[in-house]
Structure formats: structure tokens, C-alpha cells
Symmetry: C2
DNA sequence: TCATCAATCAAACGATTGTTTTAATCATAC
DNA sequence: GTATGATTAAAACAATCGTTTGATTGATGA
């Protein structure tokens, strides 16, 4: 009777369901994706989801865990490598940013094994209203974000920590939209050639680093004064 | 029998429904928000939504139209003002960015009349999977984005247009997360004090302008090279 | 006073949701 | 061959979804 969730037996159906669910979640969102859509696409029986995962919510969690654990492992590995190379000296902010966001875009560039699909999903889910999804994601992210923000604090000792946190937050937004790419409203006439992930990486990285290293607000830099009263120009 | 949608009669119930729907959409998303939740919160009868709006989809559209039309009107007005002041000379990129994103944050700062609630909703909806919502938003945005990108093309004649479009896209992502603020996963230890919209504006503006003016990719600038092969340090 | 019509109400509609049940199937080990 | 246990299958479950119906209210103008 108990669900043999952790068994390695019959990976066929289980994985087909995960793949189908992942793709459908991107297309329609969590709520709008029904069990029947999933099992139909996976060529499985309706009951298969509850048999293998227990519930729809548990399936959602498993879709994320499968990829996110691996992504964050790579991120931490990249940061470990940087710190090992530096040997105690402070890291360059650009390398830290690259370790975090570059790794993500690397996974997003993998269109063959579903990495691209998943990253599109992940970017959107960051602001997902669904309560339990948020909590799960937050837990999964906590350790990684902690380590990277600490690394940035060390790399940028003169920048207020609060400012760094905000800019990290902004960077996640930019990355999210970068991966969403053509998925997002096709507001821009020529649309995007997000077919080239290599150029996307360098594009995004320039933008992120420009933002991260921008002059701090409230220091009389042109262009960042309030709307109404322009004290200069 | 016909729904008197455009009538000004009895604004009471109609507006209560719009307000309730707006708040609930932010909290739970479109699909997870039921008609009964909306009418219950608005203290109206179930049938009221279909009577006043025709359908749930039409209600969603009306929730957006009510605010988005005004927001984009203000954006265009701000751009008009800039161009009038400049009198033919090219605009400063910072002012253009300010006219677009500053206006949005201005609306997001208005917590009393629901502007804040709506902007949280809007930021998330930009990557909304729901088909008809996306099409509606795209139509509503088309003209505004067109004018602002053209203005940026003029202001930055040396930057490839494709690059400008991408950076505009990135900027929208950063703004979206900026407004989402504490709503987003509370990944960051100290959490945010997004209670102060004035500081948020200057924070975001510094970041956006830093990103917009960043050196173009592929020009040997440190930190934007590929992961594996670092041709310079 | 009565007719009119927008607005509200309780109640029900058929369709679809996630989940469960019960039986059939399959491979493997004895 | 037969028992075992995991997997699949068809069918049904109660609950909830968006929507509609038909009656009732209440204000307005003739």
C-alpha cells in the first residue's frame, strides 16, 4: 500500500511523468496543469502519479528537487573552486557572479536533457504565489544564497551589505527574464534569438556586472536622482 | 440579459469585485483564485461577477485594464515631457529609463489606492503562462515599449539595437523582482525593508543604469568572458 | 399606482478536479 | 507451476469549479 517512492524500480514511468509534468508546468503553470494532462502526455494511467509520488503537490516538489539539487551542487562546486584558487585572497565579484548565474545559464543552455525547460520554470517560480512551493524553494536555496552573499560581502567590503542583497535580488530578476527570453511577452519587435545561449551568457553577464558595480545611490551620480527635483542639470 | 459592462451605474459592487480580485490574484494567482473567494471577499453574490463582467477571464482583463492604461499613459506623458524639454537634442538614457521604470515604481509606491498590489501582480504576469492574459498584456504594452525603445535607440546610437532590446528586457526583470520585493522567496537573511519606496527607487535606478551603460560583451572587459577559457586573468 | 429595468439573491447546472478503489497484469524467485 | 510483490488498468469517488437560471428586490419616471 505504501508508495515505494525511493525505489529504483521501474524508472520508466516515473521519469516519463516527471518530464511531462515539467514541460506542462512551464506551458500552463501548476494549477492549470491537470493530472490527466500529465499522465496523458507521459502515456501513463491516471493513477500512476498518486502511486509513484503520492499527490500532485509531491510531484511538483519532485520536479524541482530533481534538477535544483544538481544546479545548486554545481554552483557550490564552482564557488569552492574559485576560493581554492584564490587561496585566501578576496575573490573578484565578477567571478562570484559568474559562478552563480553562469552555472544557471549553463543549465538553461542544455536543451537536450530538459535543463532549458526547467530553468524557464524555475525563473517563474521564484515569485510563485503557491505557498508550499515557495517554502520548498526557499529551503532548497537557503544554503547556496548564504554562501554566495557572504562571498560578495568579502569581495565588496566597501559596499553596504543591504545594498549587495538588493543587487543580488535584482540580478536574479534579470536572469529570470533572460531565461524566460522569448517566453515572456514578445514585446520587442524583432523578437530575440535566444537560440544562441553563448551570446546570451555574455550579454547577461555584462549587464549584471554593470549593475553590481554601479555607483551607489545617493551620491550625486547623474541619472539616479528623484523624478521631480533634479538637483543637477 | 446583456451585460451592462460599460455602464457607469452601481459602481459600488463592480469596484469591490475588482479590488477583491486584484488582491486575491496577487495572493494566489489567477487559477487558484475562485469566483467564490472573490465574491466572498467583495461581499457580493456569486452571480455578480458574471453579471458585471461576463466571465472570469473578462474580469481578469478588466483588473489589468483599469490600472495598466493609466500607468502607460503616465509613462508616455513623462516621455513626451522629456522630448519637449530636449527640443530635438538626443535624450539622456538615464532620463528615459527613469520615465519608464520610475513611473512604475511610483505607482508601486502607492499603497493606499491599490497601486502597490497591482504592480506586484503585473510584475509576475509578465511571464504568465496563461495564453489570453499574455496576448492582452502584449497588446496593451506594444505602443509604449515601441516608443521607449526608439527613444533609447536615438539616445545610444553606438549600441547595437539588439543589445538595447535585451538590456531593456533585463531591466524589466530587475524591476519586476524589485517590486516583488519581500514577496519573492525570502532568500536573504535580513529580509528587505521595501517599506521605503523612495530608497528602492534610487537603488533600482542605480542598478538599471549601471547595467544599461555596461561595456558591451565581447570586448575583452574583465569578468564577462566564458566560464572555461579565460583569455585575460 | 403601476410599469420598467438594473441589480441582487439562492439554488442549481454540467463539467472537471485530485484522489481512491479494486482488479488485472507482469516479472521474478522458489 | 506457483506464490510474491511491484506496477498498471478501468472505473468511480466526493468535492469544487465557472456559469446559468429564475425569482425577487428596490429605485425611478410616467
Amino acid at each position: 500500500m505504501r508508495a515505494p517512492t525511493d525505489r529504483q524500480s521501474a524508472p520508466e514511468t516515473r521519469d516519463r511523468i516527471l518530464d511531462a509534468a515539467e514541460a506542462l508546468f512551464v506551458e500552463h503553470g501548476f494549477e492549470a496543469t491537470t493530472m490527466r494532462m500529465i499522465t496523458s502526455r507521459a502515456e501513463a494511467n491516471i493513477a500512476a502519479v498518486n502511486y509513484h509520488f503520492g499527490s500532485k503537490d509531491a510531484l511538483i516538489q519532485e520536479v524541482f528537487k530533481r534538477r535544483l539539487t544538481e544546479l545548486n551542487r554545481r554552483r557550490l562546486a564552482a564557488l569552492d573552486r574559485l576560493e581554492a584558487e584564490a587561496g585566501g585572497t578576496p575573490l573578484k565579484p565578477s567571478r562570484i557572479v559568474e559562478a552563480f548565474f553562469g552555472t544557471a545559464l549553463e543549465m538553461a543552455a542544455d536543451t537536450e536533457h530538459g535543463g532549458h525547460t526547467f530553468m524557464r520554470l524555475l525563473g517563474r517560480t521564484y515569485t510563485e504565489p503557491n505557498g508550499f512551493v515557495r517554502q520548498f524553494l526557499a529551503e532548497e536555496y537557503a544554503g547556496v544564497v548564504e554562501r554566495f552573499t557572504v562571498a560578495l560581502f568579502r569581495a565588496l567590503p566597501d559596499v553596504p551589505r543591504e545594498e549587495i542583497l538588493w543587487r543580488f535580488h535584482f540580478m536574479m530578476g534579470a536572469m529570470s527574464y533572460a531565461i524566460a527570453g522569448t517566453d515572456a511577452l514578445q514585446l520587442f519587435a524583432g523578437t530575440f534569438d535566444d537560440a544562441d545561449p553563448e551570446r546570451l551568457l555574455s550579454r547577461l553577464m555584462s549587464f549584471l556586472l554593470g549593475g553590481l558595480r554601479a555607483p551607489l545611490p545617493g551620491q550625486g551620480v547623474p541619472g539616479e536622482n528623484g523624478r521631480g527635483a533634479s538637483k543637477r542639470q
